[in-house]
């Protein structure tokens, strides 16, 4: 059996070993390498307890035997191989399962509360422990997306977008557990499928089936704005209903340019909006002028996009099986940096980890939630197969929770351990 000259290194001082080359059997896999490191650490520090490590060869996770990996990556076996080792990211542990009455269309969590939108025309607020706190009812149709706007002490502002073409801005007092609809945002001519709050928490953007993006003010005010869209006078009943749900609000700006329904929208920063659409494009908009800055063209319908400020990458889930990574800064149109391929159905949701530049989670119609590390694009880190039906939404919290909701009416939370080094990165 051939031997390879390797040198191990790590950023974690706690687990560092001597910087000397070792001769390792070429066929050894992660488990053997991990044993080697553990042996070394034990030799160095008698109180060392067994720890599982993962290994990176030139920035790629080792998933097969060392020789196969090097052959696949085209690394010469003559030189000394530099192998980085990190503590293994432990599998996410299922924590809570929150039952809904209907399909969960969207989920967004902040540090304390989870907001879910559901096909039963309501949104719900849950505590992180899985207790239903509040039901947000007011829409006349399916709630397609939800978003937190801001929290001032005990009062929170939240948004729900619905198939009934409206977005409702709610004010919720968590202490008194009182909910009030402050504004009803009207103007879309199709179901509002996506909303995103800007980083300044004063505006939000919505994308709709009517191919439009609209920017709205997220500040709750008392006076009613003038209604731009004339309501047909023959619908007094509808009018009454909307009056109950707060003041009508009209968009600050309308961004038109997509040829098909807008499926996902997000703010890159306070100046820049990114939207994904069924017309196979991702567009970057200037939020001030409302013009298209860049268009990234894919070949399939985009279902969802997510942006990570840590690695400045855009991840997209589309109606093929792939999660694709894009660089939104690139000016030369469509450039897929990486395709993460393992799903067998449409990828309906993607979300970057808030605290890890390499990790993202994706949900798909094949009932799976996958946790990815971009350093291992062929195989995900973990498959979470808790759902019994289509996964429609995923999210992370800063408090080490992963969330996923789907067509089996269940919202699952998973606890994961973030590496300290990565958290600091």
């Amino acid at each position: 059996m051939s031997q390879l000259q390797t040198r191990f290194f790590t950023d974690n001082k706690k687990y560092s070993v001597d910087d000397v080359p070792f001769s390792i059997p070429a066929a050894s896999e992660v488990q053997e390498l991990s044993n080697v490191i553990n042996k070394l650490l034990e030799a160095k520090n008698g109180s060392h307890s067994q720890i599982e490590f993962d290994f990176l060869v030139r920035g790629q996770f080792l998933r097969t035997s060392l020789s196969n990996h090097m052959e696949a990556e085209g690394i010469s076996t003559e030189d000394v191989v530099e192998i980085e080792y990190v503590e293994r990211f432990t599998a996410p542990q299922p924590e809570e399962c929150m039952m809904h009455d209907d399909w969960i269309s969207s989920v967004e969590a902040d540090s304390e509360w989870i907001l879910t939108g559901s096909y039963d025309k309501t949104a719900r607020i849950w505590s992180l422990e899985g207790k239903a706190v509040m039901t947000v009812a007011g829409h006349t149709d399916v709630v397609k997306d939800v978003a937190w706007v801001r929290r001032d002490g005990l009062t929170s502002l939240l948004l729900t977008a619905s198939l009934d073409q409206t977005i409702l801005l709610w004010e919720w007092n968590s202490e008194r557990n009182k909910l009030k609809a402050r504004h009803c945002c009207r103007g879309h001519a199709g179901s509002v499928d996506t909303i995103a709050t800007d980083p300044t928490r004063t505006k939000f953007c919505s994308g709709s089936w009517d191919k439009m993006l609209k920017i709205w003010s997220a500040v709750a005010t008392e006076e009613e704005e003038e209604v731009v869209v004339e309501e047909p006078p023959s619908r007094p009943r509808k009018k009454q209903k909307t009056e109950q749900l707060g003041l009508t609000r009209t968009p600050l700006m309308t961004l038109s340019g997509h040829n098909e329904a807008v499926s996902s929208v997000l703010w890159l920063d306070s100046e820049e909006i990114c939207s994904a659409s069924w017309d196979h494009t991702i567009r970057l908009w200037d939020a001030e002028t409302g013009s298209v800055k860049t268009t990234l063209t894919g070949s399939k319908v985009f279902n969802h996009i997510s942006y990570s400020p840590l690695c400045r990458r855009l991840a997209s889930g589309s109606t093929d099986r792939h999660v694709r990574l894009w660089d939104p800064r690139s000016k030369d149109g469509s450039l897929v940096l990486l395709s993460l391929t393992s799903h067998s159905g449409w990828v309906t949701a993607v979300k970057w980890a808030p605290s890890h530049e390499h990790q993202l989670v994706s949900g798909s119609l094949d009932n799976l939630v996958k946790l990815w590390d971009t350093r291992s694009c062929k195989t995900p880190l973990y498959d979470v197969s808790a759902h019994e039906d289509k996964v429609l939404c995923v999210d992370w919290t800063d408090s080490r929770l992963m969330l996923s909701g789907g067509a089996d009416n269940k919202l699952y939370t998973y606890r994961y351990t973030a590496c300290e080094t990565d958290a600091g990165a």
Binding site: W103, A189, G190, W209, R235, A261, K300, W346
Partner: protein, 797 residues
């Protein structure tokens, strides 16, 4: 007449041929019809006495003449000289006569002419032309003899001169042709010309010769043949249409002539010849004239010729002793054959197969390993003769002397002969064609993307087979109608059933209004067409649609319509029902016009002209566009752009112009039973699915025959669809598969559509022998929906 004949017979004068023949004719002919014979016979009657008298002495007279032939020599020669200018026959005749008889005098041919009719009558004209020569020869002597006879008398009377005179006088009295039968003057013509007349000619007096009253038919002929002992000697005379019985003499004559003998029995053809000129060579010249001078002078002309030749030889123009080319002339027979030709003769030569050389096992004393063991021998005997590796058993003999005769020798030779005989002496030319080259060049499916490739979503909810599906014009919703009497509305991108509506029967067809400004879905079940407002999509559109329907004002005069329009109210209205069209018969299909105001419904019924109805929703009007029933209507469709209407019957698709109200085209599908039809969004192409597993693509500009027939499905096609924007079409069949084809239609009229099958999509389970029942494309994405008998709808992307 008859009495006369009888008399003559009694008289025993039958020995004379001429008389007999005359008599016979007389017996058979009627008096009136043949007056010519009357005359002859009367003549004969007149001379009968003499004849009878003479007949006894005839032989003697002849012999007497022969004996005393010498005295008549001079006169004979005179006659010859005088008759020289007569016809050749006569001359030859004379010569023969002179040669043969010597004694016999060839008397005047004209005289014979005079008598020929009587002489020839009977036999001679019946013996056709081939005997004519012999006839002359044969008859002549007789006549001459007879003439001699007569002349003898004449000579006795008036001498030579008188004879000659009479002869000359006779010469022009009658026609010279002795072969002609002048009883009938029509001449030598085909007698069938007179077939249609009652007569067969004219006699010498110009009177008609009539045919016998009753013609002999076959039966008479047969009876005659059986009963008449003289049948064999009876001949039919065409010119007089009478039967003539040949006398013994005549039969003899015929026999002799057949044997190539002379007609006259007494004629000796081997008479000694008489030299007219001496054969001795005289030594003295006949004349004493001196020789010419020119015979002694060399010829100047010759000299000139010789000098010319000499000059030519000197000049070398002529080579007198040029050696002859002795080498034989050959040429290459195969010079023109191309030596490189593959089929060249020499290359086509296949040598006969060679006999296999004997090996060790054939030896009389084979090495022991070639000898079969007992088991092998058993196995060998068990095997079929063809399967045996060796046709014989190797045997060991102590010495060559002990080797018996080879028992299979004949057999082996025979097989060898068969080998040689049956060996194919021809080289089979094998064309090395790569089978892939024969496949037409089609683009790779990979280059024709996008098209649906994988199943993405399954829309589950129905409990029975889903007959029909239709996508909303925006592509957000899908409507499906099922046999479980429900209509379901689905959100396309999640597979969520947004709405379920119960209707009163198994839904046969659903159709979403293609106008994006109208939110209406037509659903047909039993004999009802229901217009639903699903309330999905833009609220404004939904409400404007409702307004459109409620704003209808009934016209002043109510016209009688084939269907009743009813506005839904109360709970039904809340469910989305808007208008109910009650048809007289079960409705199978509904289809919208592209503008969304007109709606066609199909009520298949073979016995009525009320099969297709076109409804106008805004005016709530219904009309029956067809007055005649052209067959069981399967499906209909509107042209996407022009006012055309497509009606598919069992075998044909008819294209009607709705404005001109006329039939524009009739497409022959070559299918047994059309099941579905789809029109290309450009309007110039059409696909037809049929229950006999075929899909026919028509180019309406090209022909009324299918431009292409696709037989990819294993079972009956149930649904076909075109994509609105992408060059795709799909077909769903009972085999549970959906086949996606790339169907590119070019704006260039010269370029024919490009059709490439790109993908077979499988997913539906076959339930009750039914697979996919309907297919439809997403209006904007290259996605295809299929509904199946397994109660699911599937989305392939």
């Amino acid at each position: 007449m008859r009495t006369v004949n009888l008399e003559s017979q009694k008289n025993g004068t039958m020995s004379k041929a001429k008389e007999k023949s005359a008599k016979k004719r007389v017996v058979e002919e009627d008096d009136d019809q043949l007056p010519i014979f009357d005359k002859d016979v009367t003549e004969k009657k007149a001379g009968e006495e003499d004849d009878a008298d003479l007949s006894d002495s005839e032989e003697s007279v002849f012999s007497g003449l022969e004996d005393s032939g010498s005295d008549s020599h001079d006169e004979e020669e005179d006659a010859e000289e005088g008759d020289d200018e007569d016809d050749d026959d006569a001359v030859i005749l004379d010569e023969i006569l002179t040669k043969s008889s010597g004694v016999e005098t060839a008397t005047e041919p004209p005289a014979t002419d005079k008598n020929t009719p009587t002489v020839n009558m009977g036999v001679l004209f019946l013996l056709q032309k081939q005997y004519s020569r012999v006839q002359n020869v044969k008859t002549a002597p007789k006549q001459k003899r007879k003439m001699k006879k007569g002349e003898g008398v004449a000579m006795d009377d008036g001498g030579e001169k008188g004879l000659i005179n009479t002869r000359h006088g006779d010469e022009y009295e009658h026609d010279t042709s002795d072969e002609e039968d002048i009883r009938n003057t029509v001449g030598n013509i085909p007698m069938e010309w007179y077939q249609d007349y009652p007569h067969i000619g004219y006699n010498l007096d110009g009177k008609k010769i009539f045919k016998p009253i009753r013609n002999k038919d076959e039966l008479d002929e047969f009876l005659d043949k059986m009963e008449n002992p003289d049948y064999w000697r009876t001949v039919h005379d065409k010119t007089t249409a009478s039967d003539i019985r040949l006398s013994d003499e005549q039969v003899d004559l015929v026999h002799r002539l057949q044997k190539g003998q002379f007609g006259d029995v007494n004629f000796n053809e081997y008479e000694p010849s008489v030299d007219f000129f001496t054969n001795e060579v005289m030594i003295h010249p006949v004349t004493n004239r001196p020789q010419d001078k020119r015979s002694f002078i060399p010829s100047l002309i010759e000299k000139e010729k010789v000098s010319k030749l000499v000059h030519a030889i000197k000049m070398g123009w002529i080579k007198p002793r040029k050696p002859k080319e002795t080498t034989p002339q050959y040429y290459d027979l195969w010079a023109k054959e191309d030596p490189n030709a593959i089929l060249g003769r020499h290359k086509m030569h296949v040598p006969a197969p060679k006999m296999r050389l004997p090996g060790h096992e054939e030896s009389y004393n084979p090495p022991p390993e070639y000898l079969l063991t007992e088991e092998e021998r058993m196995a060998w005997e068990q095997q079929d003769a063809e399967d045996r590796k060796l046709p014989f058993l190797p045997q060991k003999h102590s010495c060559l002397r002990a080797v018996p005769a080879f028992s299979r020798f004949i057999h082996e030779r025979f097989e060898r002969c068969l080998d040689l005989y049956l060996c194919p002496r021809q080289r089979k030319m094998r064309v090395n064609v790569n089978p892939e080259d024969l496949i037409p060049k089609l683009p790779k499916p990979k280059d024709l993307q996008p098209f649906p490739t994988t199943m993405s979503l399954v829309y589950i909810g129905h409990s029975s087979l889903v007959r029909s599906i239709s996508a909303s014009p925006t592509g957000q919703w899908l409507v499906s109608g099922s046999d479980d009497c429900t209509v379901r509305f689905w959100e396309v991108n999640t597979g969520r059933c947004m709405k379920t509506l119960e209707v009163g029967g198994a839904v046969k067809s659903v159709a979403w209004n293609p106008n994006p400004a109208v939110c209406l879905v037509a659903v047909c079940f039993e004999s009802t067409v229901l217009l639903l407002n699903p309330g999905l999509g833009d609220r404004l559109v939904v409400s404007s649609t409702d307004q459109l329907i409620t704003s209808y004002e009934p016209p002043e005069e109510d016209k009688e319509q084939a269907v009743t329009w009813a506005l839904s109210e109360g709970p039904e209205h809340d469910n989305g029902h808007r208008l109910t069209l009650t048809h007289p018969k079960a409705v199978k299909q509904v289809v919208w016009h592209g503008k969304g105001d007109y709606l066609a419904s199909v009520m298949p019924d073979n016995s009525s002209n009320l099969q297709v109805l076109i409804h106008q929703v805004s005016k709530r009007r219904t009309q029956n566009p067809f007055r005649k029933n052209k067959g069981l209507v399967q499906c209909v469709s509107f042209h996407p752009l022009r006012p055309y209407f497509f009606v598919a019957t069992q075998r044909y698709v008819r294209v009607y112009n709705l404005i001109k109200q006329e039939l524009t085209k009739k497409l022959m599908t070559n299918c047994k039973w059309i099941s579905s039809m789809a029109i290309h969004p450009g309007g110039d192409n059409l696909i037809c699915g049929s229950y006999d597993c075929r899909l026919a693509w028509f180019d309406l500009d090209l022909s009324t025959k299918p431009y292409k027939m696709l037989r990819h499905h294993k079972k009956a096609l149930r649904g076909v669809a075109y994509h609105k924007h992408y060059p795709l079409f799909a077909s769903g069949a009972d085999d549970g598969s959906v086949i996606i084809c790339h169907g590119m239609v070019y704006n260039d009229l010269l370029q024919n559509p490009l059709i490439v099958p790109v993908k077979v999509l499988k997913g539906h389970q076959i339930t009750h022998d039914l697979g996919v029942l309907d297919v439809t494309f997403h209006p904007t994405q290259p996605w295809v929906f299929s509904s199946g008998a397994d109660a699911t709808i599937r989305l392939f992307t």
